[in-house]
Symmetry: C2
Subunit: 357 residues, 2 copies
Amino acid sequence: MAQAKNADLRNLDGVAKRAGVSTATVSRVLNNQNVVKNSTRARVLKAAEELKYHPNLHARSLARGKSRTLGILVSNMENPFFFDIYRALESAAHARGYEVVVANTDYSSEQLVSSVRLMIGWRVAGLAAIVSEMDSHLMQVLTDSKIPIVFYDVGTPQKNITNVRVDYRKGMKKIVEYLHSLGHTRMAFLGHHSTLGPISERRKTFLETVARLAPNAEAQIVAAADGLEGGRQAARELLSSGFQPTAILCVNDFMAVGVLRHLRDQGIRVPDDVSVTGFDNIRLAEFCSPALTTVHIPRERIGQTIFGNLVPDKASDRLIGQEILVDPELVVRESTGVARQTQAIESRQRSASGLPV
Amino acid sequence: MAQAKNADLRNLDGVAKRAGVSTATVSRVLNNQNVVKNSTRARVLKAAEELKYHPNLHARSLARGKSRTLGILVSNMENPFFFDIYRALESAAHARGYEVVVANTDYSSEQLVSSVRLMIGWRVAGLAAIVSEMDSHLMQVLTDSKIPIVFYDVGTPQKNITNVRVDYRKGMKKIVEYLHSLGHTRMAFLGHHSTLGPISERRKTFLETVARLAPNAEAQIVAAADGLEGGRQAARELLSSGFQPTAILCVNDFMAVGVLRHLRDQGIRVPDDVSVTGFDNIRLAEFCSPALTTVHIPRERIGQTIFGNLVPDKASDRLIGQEILVDPELVVRESTGVARQTQAIESRQRSASGLPV
DNA sequence: CTTGCGTATGCAAGCGATTACATTTAACTA
DNA sequence: TAGTTAAATGTAATCGCTTGCATACGCAAG
């Protein structure tokens, strides 16, 4: 009955009382300030230990008015490419004493909205947006929030926005040139059916490059959802469209693995009958079968760059409002080969369905 | 100079002043309490909107003394199996108005320790531990913290601990029986080199089942790290050990994909020369080549079960201190076949290395 | 024995919300 | 019109921590 209030002593007060000091001193000990006498420090630590005390981080953030927590928004954490960026960013953050909270939006703009609300509510020290479903309204909300923010490959490039992105044009050019050198003339591009900037830019680059290199080559576009299943579905659509590609270019490796699956189910051999390429060079690209020819994108560097721009190091290398380009590199593996001149796919499909070849 | 303090008006006070009400009223509006007159509510909302106000969630948690945030600890988010559990848990949580923060420990106990510290510091409403590196000390810290906690397949089963786990014995039995029915006599098991409970139990079950079914069959154990690379490395070790398996059983699908890669590199055909099985039935198991024979584990249900036990619904179905078993089911795909009687692997290796067959 | 000064600690005012309780306003009832 | 009651709002304490400022301590110099 003595201690009416504060039944739970696992707070600064409890520790302070037990150690016979004031809360201020306890706080100073816990924050490693060197102003506390060693004997006091020891008593405080002992008391904290005995009470199994853990500081309340909400109270701390509130009192400090700032946190060392970074937020990450990701469209699809299941895609190893995004996961790798997240991991690199996180480890860079940890190395500098920052925590990280991540929200997976699953390509849903509703989820994105509520995640953004959360991040702002948590007053994160910075925000990395690796999402494709960002609209201008949300962008406004974010800039209004005054939270430092770095985008990865954002759709609508605006002024005063830091944007780390890959030079997709260059990567796409390398792939198309490579396929062209192998004699491919009918190529299909499988990508998200998004109307957003970068995606449509990729489509355009594909079409332009094909047109430039081989004026009388044919090019086809297929819209697809991200992921293994999305790739498989897109491949299905492509094949039933009547277009007979000699090469299929996928917007990313993850999707390409789905494409490979469908081709295999149809008895179509890669790269003998058709070549397939990905983009990103995720680990899986090396492990799937056939191993994917793709374009390497340095996720590690991207993650580090994002962090570096969120939490400026020497106050020097922060590049607000800039676009930071990352160069991709071609990686040739097993899924590409010289173009077959005959209509390989059609004949495979015929024989698979029992029709006369 | 008029407003000395509170320069930033984006807090309850700011909104209150602007709407001409008290902070209490603003708070009531924001928490959807129906006690506020409509006209006032409208004024408050307008003020909040104009100020672009977002409640400070730290202050809220602090004041409320409890949160609707759940913590998840995961050893390896890169493994799609864990990712799926996380996703299921998260969507169950969202459906009931809970938020989720996830910490990826990367199998490092240091990271686990600091993640646990974080979760306790955040006073999460509950904690899901999907980690294999949990030691008894940390377990103590967690129980001391009074945070409701549910483990997934924890190593050291203790009293008073809720543990959702898969009936691995049953799954393992199904696989071994199936392989046995195909005539396999030399089987190798590739699993983490952990001394923890569930893993060693799996090993034991494997050995026992093999011994029971085919007394004169041979069994081999290989330690491996998780992941694609871990699987590949384990396969390498296995093959160079001299043991000539007719079947390779992997502790999970993710690792199995790595195994497939190495076998392919060595010119060993699956399932003609050797059969390979996984465990988990991740989506990739269907998409890799050959598609994996595996055991399906219902991640969705696991996620939901974990959530249900963290946040009891009707105060009824919470099973504290219990073990909740989930039944696995065999899924036969392309990576298994009847056992070859000749020493297939050895001859492939010879021919691959240019030696006389 | 003061004075002075660095060092170690305590006091108390925030941080931005929630909420029990008090108070005012509005709406009926008699 | 006064009386009773419910509805709407305000007051102020509180959550657990940080931190500027004040205070107390100890010890060397004057």
